[in-house]
Symmetry: C2
Subunit: 390 residues, 2 copies
Amino acid sequence: MSMRGEVAVIGVGMTKFGEHWDKQLRDLFVEAALEAIEDAQVDLRDIKAMFIGNMGSGLWVEQEHLGPLLADYLGIPGTPSLKIESACASSGMAFRLGVISVAVGLYDIVLVGGVEKTSDVTHGESIHHLASVADREWEAFYGMTLPALFALIAKRHMMQYGTTREQLAKVAVKNHKHGSYNPKAQFQRPISIEDVLNSPLVADPLRLLDCSPISDGAAVAIIARSDIARKFTDTPVYVLGSGVATDTIALHDRDDITTFKSIVLAAREAYKMAKVEPKDINVAEVHDSFTIAEILAYEDLGFVKKGEGGKLIDEGVTELGGKIPVNTSGGLKARGHSPGATGIAQIVEIVLQLRNDAGKRQVSNAEIGLTQNIGGSGASCVIHIFGNKR
Amino acid sequence: MSMRGEVAVIGVGMTKFGEHWDKQLRDLFVEAALEAIEDAQVDLRDIKAMFIGNMGSGLWVEQEHLGPLLADYLGIPGTPSLKIESACASSGMAFRLGVISVAVGLYDIVLVGGVEKTSDVTHGESIHHLASVADREWEAFYGMTLPALFALIAKRHMMQYGTTREQLAKVAVKNHKHGSYNPKAQFQRPISIEDVLNSPLVADPLRLLDCSPISDGAAVAIIARSDIARKFTDTPVYVLGSGVATDTIALHDRDDITTFKSIVLAAREAYKMAKVEPKDINVAEVHDSFTIAEILAYEDLGFVKKGEGGKLIDEGVTELGGKIPVNTSGGLKARGHSPGATGIAQIVEIVLQLRNDAGKRQVSNAEIGLTQNIGGSGASCVIHIFGNKR
């Protein structure tokens, strides 16, 4: 069977991303879930299963077994509920599994969510925990961190394709501008190219303002069988395509570090299922954990040819008002990056755009949207394509 | 659609459970996977997706992102692969998701596995890590550990139903006897009731020999669409039923701690899908993390009425040669309990039994088998029912 159009998103919700000193992981999840449930106009008891994306609750808050914990705290103990982990792509993957479980006919209505609480430890510990998504034995053990891995990719991309330091900065500037229109964004303050170029060096050539923050947050979507979706909402958003792939865990095992093969493979599956091409996408949320990652996403998603991602940002194609606005939410850079929640936060934004509910950052006439969510330095990737028509 | 009989297990493999000082998590997984692949007679490239159960790789070995890591080390980078966490029920849940993804038509052949490496830290750290499957804020923080939680359950069951200390001991004695026939078991040494009663007290009334070990290990099953299964094997084992449920995370929030509601609910779903009743089960692997847990499993699976689990063990019904042999592998107690791998290890045993491949511990004429896998103190449960006829 094809899953195309079988499942619809009928409600979304999310917390503001940021530093939530006064809330636990479970509180963040429940806040986002209740917003999504209200948006979907479903009864709590209509939810027949939960799929929760989370990267590191074991490491960050020493709590596993999130599935039952969060069903319990949401008020529906008993409900099937489990945790999916694929680093920063955890909740994108959870979304896919939720879609599959509805498509197979197991459940009519499912809650898919993502959550992460990272701010209860020191920054040093957080960086150490984050490195658990790289190869602990052959990368992290020797001192590689996520910024260092992406710095290698950026250096190589600049050398091979002439991508400039300024082009990287423009990604952050664009996403901060978009974030300034999003009340749920962690950073709602526009920045300049000079701000980026003068920010502290993290891993050459990447500076502080090239890096997304590591945020607390939660995001939730309620999905349903498409043929019952209109009972709950006048604006269901249909899942047209879904793709997933992996790559070697370590960067040094790849033929070419200027491309994420996982994006290329996942995109191929998603475009094929959705029966659309890159040129059909009206709005996209991509995984800009670092500015270079957004450049790679443009290329590996087929928005431009390999090496031309820098040109795309120069030409303003991916800004609000351009042909394919990218990261209208502010992206990981400005909306914030809560590893377990980012994948669904991307979906929340695309659903709002396709419902024409995105307020000041609305893309006009958006009919087809895409989300692209990677884990670590691209060892996993999950992509979804949505449409407001079936 | 009904998933009944749509998917078959075509190969299984597992490491010996125990203390594997000379092997990393990735080595254990690859060893089990290669055994399963050889057993299934599939080519590595036939595997189109991987679902990996793991409870605590973040905590125990500071490695997340196991999906791509393990696909990479198995030699098939690129393959969709992710990690599922539901405490000690992680790989039972991974199995269910693999089955769903085949049933929906996404993949023909899928690898489902479980792995855990626990012995690289101190026992104290391990106990702390394990407590992450209970409610960290309202149980573990106040000093509750897994043995303590199960001790409360045992005390209450003894008071309410007259279950005796000797009956608990008999569970361990039976499972050690079964384990002595299993070359993959961690403990292959029979023990006596006196051994159990004289072993050190852990949490009254539970003694050391009432508790399963926390083991290193990995287990893998290869599953396929039933209509192609006979291309690979003459003895496919069909998935007839699957059920999953949760309960409150904390024991103190339950109406009755002598029953695991998650087992009752998951069993109802699995029996219904499989169209069988408890009396039809010829052989079962149940989650005896502590001896009392096996008694509860008898009752909550419907093998006997609530409160009569102790009687069942007295009568020898669940021993090899009895009417429903339980834990012929040795169970968690003697085969070993590697949290992320236990769910699939149970499935390995039932598959061997239904193929008539279980050697000295073979149950004669076994046609229908059941696996029951719980997370933590029963906050999640997953059950599968298998048959050697479709």
